[in-house]
């Protein structure tokens, strides 16, 4: 618990800045809807029949002319990318920062134990993702409130639950990378989060690349799918949980054996 508090404190500033930036972006975009509403209604039908482009942004499933549709196709993208990048950044640095900053000697000679350190550091990544989601959701709900229309609670929670799973999966894979590397691979982690998003776009547009939907967690956590179908693909969510658990377990095994410099 001491270590969890310590980590949350260390990442406090990053969490505040990141959740404020993404939250305010989402809030501002939602406010834009009012001024775009009329033109959106006119072009909504046209957007929905633009083939691959419509499919990539989910505009073939929800109408961009409604606030929920606008949120699912435009605003949710900011939240999804921002959340994934925050999770990647946190996960990839939480273990390796100790070796890069030469603080491993200090931390690992306290009577905590390597297993305990990995466990609580992983818990801090999960908690930070949760706190990020919570803080950003408040901004988003405030945006809906200002627009005078609230989203369906079930779909909204389902979507943000899926997004939390996505963040945990990306955060866990990056945590595994962090257990191997001696330096923070922040650039690589951010690139990884964006690459997974690109995979989702490609698998929706190019039929030959459909198989990528099993690789990228953005696919099952897609806002347009969830808001239009009102449900989550259970199998894919389970696969995401499995990847998350395996990555965390892998990090645990690797870091316990590792020579610390």
């Amino acid at each position: 618990m001491t270590l969890l508090k310590h980590e949350i404190k260390m990442y406090g500033k990053t969490w505040i800045i990141w959740s404020m930036c993404i939250g305010i972006c989402c809030f501002s975009c939602l406010l834009l809807f009012e001024s775009l509403k009329e033109s959106m209604e006119e072009i909504a039908d046209m957007f929905s029949v633009m083939g691959g482009f419509s499919a990539a942004l989910g505009m073939d499933k929800v109408s961009i002319g409604t606030i929920t549709g606008f949120y699912a196709t435009e605003v949710a993208l900011i939240f999804a990318l921002g959340g994934a990048m925050f999770a990647a950044m946190t996960g990839v640095s939480v273990l390796s920062k100790e070796e890069e900053g030469h603080t491993a000697d200090f931390l690992h000679t306290l009577p905590l134990g390597r297993g305990h350190i990995v466990l609580w550091k992983y818990a801090s990544v999960c908690l930070l993702c949760l706190l990020f989601s919570a803080a950003t959701m408040i901004w988003i709900l405030l945006g809906f409130f200002c627009m005078g229309e609230m989203p369906s609670v079930r779909e909204f929670l389902l979507y943000h639950g899926a997004q939390l799973l996505l963040q945990l999966e990306i955060g866990s894979i990056c945590f595994l990378i962090s257990s191997i590397c001696k330096k923070k691979q922040t650039g690589g982690a951010l690139g990884f989060a964006v690459l997974l998003y690109m995979m989702e776009l490609m698998c929706r547009v190019i039929p030959a690349m459909k198989g990528l939907k099993y690789v990228t967690p953005y696919y099952f956590a897609n806002a347009s799918d969830i808001f239009s179908q009102g449900r989550l693909n259970g199998e894919m969510a389970l696969a995401s949980i499995a990847v998350t658990v395996l990555s965390a377990a892998g990090a645990f095994v690797i870091y316990r054996q590792k020579d610390l410099s």
Binding site: G101, F106, L110, P111, L112, D259
Partner: protein
């Protein structure tokens, strides 16, 4: 008989047997074995890259080692690492601590990790070492970071203190204050193991020492015994010219060598401890 009984009662604070650690194909340490008795002040000497830090880091579980056993406070370092670290204080040579934290936060964090209330002792150490607890670690010089590291290593009054080049970066007055603290802790039963490049420190404060060179132990003994050697500095005057050399070996060989020279004058003297250690280093 009594002396033997007394020796039996003395337990080992550090017991290393056949420690071998390699980094891929490169050398770490090979077949290191030595014992440090409880209550001792033990110096660990060796040039840069000799394997001092590898040995210390293996002792503390920061490195995994392929061969050998390490027992600290009669406990196996691999099996009971957490219990060992509860009773050990470690001060790394570089003293890197979280730069965004305040001194008081770091000291409190170290105490909380040990589940101990060390506030009183921490306060006393801060006063002795003149540490400003409100400052952030990132604002401190190396010397002041070292002081924070000393406080974190000592505030819980450990049974064993492991110090890696503890005085580098400390000014002479602080070095003196630090060694007085070490002597005070040692008088209360703390075993002290310190690696150092400063031979005068080892000579002044340590009772035993081990010398490591190229990953292998070249000598372990009392400081007095390590100082006793066959090394002699010989100064001669031959045909009006003064010469000087160091003789290592049987004194009879030296005398027979000198006998063959046309000597006008000769001076044979023992080497000071510093030079004996330098000889080990070379």
């Amino acid at each position: 008989m009594e002396e033997r009984e007394k020796q039996k009662d003395v337990k080992a604070a550090i017991e290393i047997e056949g420690l071998t650690k390699t980094y891929g194909k490169s050398r770490g340490v090979e077949g290191i074995s030595f014992t440090v008795e409880e209550g001792d002040i033990f110096g660990f000497l060796g040039p840069n890259g000799a394997g001092k830090s590898t040995t210390i880091r293996s002792m503390l579980g920061l490195l995994t080692f392929s061969e050998g056993t390490i027992k600290l406070l009669q406990m196996d370092s691999k099996k009971r690492q957490k219990q060992i670290l509860r009773q050990v204080g470690y001060m790394p040579s570089e003293a890197f601590i979280y730069p965004s934290m305040k001194v008081k936060e770091v000291v409190r964090f170290a105490a909380q990790a040990r589940k101990q209330d060390c506030a009183k002792e921490a306060e006393r150490l801060c006063e002795i070492l003149e540490v400003d607890r409100e400052k952030k670690i990132g604002e401190l010089s190396l010397g002041n970071r070292k002081k924070v590291s000393i406080i974190c290593a000592m505030q819980h009054r450990p049974k064993l203190l492991i110090l890696d080049e503890p005085t580098s970066g400390l000014d002479p007055l602080m070095q003196e204050a630090f060694f007085q603290l070490l002597l005070e802790y040692n008088a209360q039963g703390t075993t002290i193991f310190l690696s150092s490049h400063v031979l005068s420190e080892v000579k002044k404060y340590c009772r035993h020492a081990a010398i490591i060179k190229e990953g292998k132990l070249v000598g372990t003994d009392t400081i007095a015994n390590l100082s006793k050697s066959n090394l002699r500095r010989v100064r001669i005057r031959e045909k009006g010219q003064e010469k000087e050399f160091v003789h290592d070996g049987d004194i009879k060989e030296l005398l027979s060598r000198l006998n063959q020279m046309a000597l006008e004058d000769v001076l044979i003297e023992e080497l000071p401890l510093e030079e004996i250690f330098m000889h080990y280093y070379e």
